[in-house]
């Protein structure tokens, strides 16, 4: 729950406000960008995700560091389980 997972915004989902497809090490899931309304990310931007919601924009380097950090903490698997779990495995 307290994992901050770095992901790359791939596309904004049309017709659904603030929803985007975000990719985390090859896994694509729907993430909510509603908490970044003041500074809306665009495809190509990197974000830190908490419980399915992007909470801050970060740099690509920051994203790499965060993923490495999760690996070192032994939480990378839990992070990927969480990402795969978004959307109840439906992935839509």
């Amino acid at each position: 729950m307290c994992l901050a997972i770095p992901g790359k915004v791939v596309e904004l989902i049309e017709g659904l406000s603030n929803q985007a497809v975000v990719e985390v090490t090859g896994v694509r899931r729907r993430v909510d960008l509603g908490l970044l309304q003041d500074d809306m990310p665009v495809p190509g931007d990197w974000v830190l995700i908490h419980v399915g919601f992007a909470m801050s924009k970060i740099s690509e380097q920051g994203a790499e560091e965060q993923m490495r950090m999760l690996r070192m903490l032994g939480e990378d698997q839990a992070a990927m389980d969480e990402v795969r779990g978004y959307g109840l495995n439906g992935g839509e």
Binding site: M1, C2, A4, D32, G34, L35, L36, Q37, D38, L48, H50, V51, G52, F53, M55, S56, I58, S59, G62, E65, M69, M72, L73, G74, E75, A78, D81, E82, V83, G85, Y86, G87, L88
Partner: protein, 381 residues
Amino acid sequence: MAASDMRYVDEFRDPEIITRTAEEIRRLAEPHRHYRIMEVCGGHTHAIYRFGLKDVLPANIELIHGPGCPVCVLPMGRIDDGLELGKQPNVMFTAFGDMMRVPGAHGSPLERKAAGMDVRIVYSPSDALKLARTNPDKHVMFFAIGFETTAPSTALTLMRARAEGIKNFSVFCNHVTIIPAIRAILDSPDMRLDAFIGPGHVSTVIGCRPYEWIARDEKKPIVVSGFEPLDLLQSVVMLLRQLREGKAVVENQYGRVVPWEGNRAALAAMAEVFQLRPYFEWRGLGFISQSALRIRDSYSAWDAEKIFDVAGVRVTDPKAAQCGEVLKGVLKPVQCKLFGRECTPERPVGALMVSSEGSCAAYYNYEHRKAAASKNDLAPV
């Protein structure tokens, strides 16, 4: 002590900078002083144990683990209350995976699931709402926990539920706020602290201003920190510099992620949906006034505490377990009578052993196992 003593030094991006920072810490720490620095956030606690930072710091710098693990500070009675609601006919109990093994007085959510209750793990509150959409004949109750890092997501989910007019969804709200917990710790007579390492991700939401009273009124330095070993060591340097100069200000070491003003949209969502409870019980810290969030009346149709009768159970922790003392930093995990014997990550008695951010689990996984391993290494072959 050289940085080569660090356990995982080869993984660090730049061991030389680590060595230099460790040297600077030793230079700044006055030998006759004993420093007690609290890291508020459970994520920091985990990182500190994982990277063996205790071994890098001089002996007179003591890191005290704070209350920033949401699973750990939740009193058992709230788990029982939540599970009681889950027993109501047609209710689906949903919660984050972290909650599933947390013991209530009559078992954990996972054990209730095994006994036939409809319990589902969700990874996001929006997925609990999705379950409500796809299960219109069920009432989906989301057991919400967390500090300001997760509360905005619950708030947005409730705003969406209202906008869509989804009727079969509710939130059992256990969100807490970090500032009153820090105040309670500072007010605690058996606690003497010199400085704080401020939480990283909570601060992305609340920013740095809410900590200003800690510096101004309590004269304690606080540095909001990142999670890498170098971040944490740099934060210690910044704290020691302040202490040396007799200063107390808020500094932001994690500026690459934490904006000074926080996240305005997240704060607005929280203000729309939540208001402060007059008081809330914390495990180990007791009742703290204005320390938790409840759902505003304008959202009462989605407030599990309004929809259902909540018993308001109060359960005292198992007598032998000393979670409260450990949580306050008065006892080290290993000083608890149950630690590593009755209470292990595999069979937790207290919540601090459940979450990877709980100081008992962190201590067990890194210190206890290491000690056990080195004992085996020395055993005659």
